[in-house]
Subunit: 264 residues, 3 copies
Amino acid sequence: MKNTVALLTDFGLNDNYVGVVKGVILTINPRVKLIDITHRIKSHKINEAAFVLRTSFSYFPKGMVFLVVVDPGVGSSRAAIAIKTKNYYFLGPDNGVLWPAAEADGIKKMIELNDKRFFLKNISSTFQGRDIFAPVAAHLCGGVYFSHLGKAIERIKKLDFVLPKEKRRFLEGEVIYIDKFGNLVTNIEKSFLQKFLKGKKFRATLAGKKIKTLSGSYVKNRPNEPFFIEGSFGYLEVSLKGESAKNYFKISPGKKTKLIIKKI
Amino acid sequence: MKNTVALLTDFGLNDNYVGVVKGVILTINPRVKLIDITHRIKSHKINEAAFVLRTSFSYFPKGMVFLVVVDPGVGSSRAAIAIKTKNYYFLGPDNGVLWPAAEADGIKKMIELNDKRFFLKNISSTFQGRDIFAPVAAHLCGGVYFSHLGKAIERIKKLDFVLPKEKRRFLEGEVIYIDKFGNLVTNIEKSFLQKFLKGKKFRATLAGKKIKTLSGSYVKNRPNEPFFIEGSFGYLEVSLKGESAKNYFKISPGKKTKLIIKKI
Amino acid sequence: MKNTVALLTDFGLNDNYVGVVKGVILTINPRVKLIDITHRIKSHKINEAAFVLRTSFSYFPKGMVFLVVVDPGVGSSRAAIAIKTKNYYFLGPDNGVLWPAAEADGIKKMIELNDKRFFLKNISSTFQGRDIFAPVAAHLCGGVYFSHLGKAIERIKKLDFVLPKEKRRFLEGEVIYIDKFGNLVTNIEKSFLQKFLKGKKFRATLAGKKIKTLSGSYVKNRPNEPFFIEGSFGYLEVSLKGESAKNYFKISPGKKTKLIIKKI
């Protein structure tokens, strides 16, 4: 499945940016299959893109290529890199965006993309998704050896998600992502909470409101009573039945929101 | 064309949900072709999705699969179902969303999806689009017999659109959909209106404003004069030339808005 | 690559319009590959679509088909046309939207689409993207000769972008497009500015604020200091480091905004 490229960017869907990237790929290699993960990462939000990539990649066909462009440093000296992992290839800027996913899959080899034979002829300082990453992805799908794409490197920028802090009687986590339905994704995994609780009960507080239960499904809960649920991203989410938890808790996406879980 | 899957969901385009569903399908069956109908159904609005599916399906290649996930009851005991109709396959939750389209095409066979061989290994209670419907669609496209996907059932949840009420001297309809251009789609078919009028004229009222004409095209009308037109969905729509009827009538999408057509 | 169709419309992503157009194409010709340029052109904004098409087309595979529907005159007597250029085929309404791209590539032949064998059976007055352009694109990709699609015509509607005005000591340009990142795309090409300046310096004014530099990259600038940069569309853009120039200058997309560049 090296003929498949999944795209993850902050380009949005209003402009021609995504279309042009796809046009460049298909011009070089008409056999590539393209899948969109999302293009609506908030502009320049590396953390958000890294989280979305980390929680998505394992559902995609092995052997394929992820092309990730969330790149506030475009045109600077930050490198354009490619990572070969146990099961996939990742292309993107060296700003940490690829790190959590690549590390989770197991990094085999890292390369700085510096062989201009695989770029477009004119390299702008504003759109390397089009000029560098798209053509490299097309050539990689077309059979160019990974190691021929540039020079091997030893170090890339790392990016680690904030882990919950464990105190003696409470956990301090935070909301790290809010989805379209208003579910509040926390940085706490269910197994982590259960290990902390050791069978005891809990009471949690978020934005001044209480959360009292850990539920197995959305529908078994009462209206207006928020609960934790193990969500689609593999983390605990704060949700409400038939309602947006984002609205209920009045959480705004950009702001850091603390979650305190007390063992009782 | 059983190798094609059209997707209709309320997942939105910000999160990775649509991408992950596609990744799961292509992991199981890399030959599937994917088309998006829309992913911007308002969250949990079964009626809206049922309307969009009903007015779309016949334009798609015969033999293909529709994967529809608008599923407020995910994780409850509502069944996951598949319907074979005269020309298509429909997969989705048993909440009525598939009914109007499937019924219009002619239902041949209905199945409850309960054969776990065709699911992902871990079934979450929050994302059955990924864990059940996507893999089943991939296996169906890959040649698994429809009847092998689960056990035959006799009854599924029905969902019928509101019909216009016919009184002696007037018709009472409503606005059931508003499109991107602000066209107000009513639940009245042109032939239904003509049969009611029997050659007489009409005067219609919507949100306190009058509609006086039934027009054959957008452009032949004067500015600021709303008119009926047989729209792209096959129903009468209320439109204005070069302007949004939604704005002109100040209609809000969520609210039920009555339309009265009087024979004069 | 005549088997590839790139779509550019103002249909938006909420309704089923884009999906239905794709369904029609694949019903007639299941081998067509589809790429979206964007569907979020503002409703009926022919200029915006023409600009997006003009700045996109050359990145797509030669031989392919562009299907462009931004069509305020649908249902009027405006013709449905097809243009064969040096490298591509363009399909759309005769309202100027195809002109800048087709002219830039070199027009070879123009046709009015009037052969109903290549249309859907029922032609609505509201959705010719579905009823005319989609089936014609599918047939063209399927091997129908371009010249068989309709009758040759000599003239189509032209649309020219506003050029900057050159006075003795200053240039008067304008903002013609704003992208997702808030970059303000002007109608001035870098080479045009350099020819005007002949090595001298400049001072520019936009919406009451000053722009003092022409930069080679986003990142080398200071915060809060707007600059010109040759952007991804091939025009000078007004940008800020890590911030939206649209917000900084308080520019609203619909309104014409003058840019004055003075030679000093």
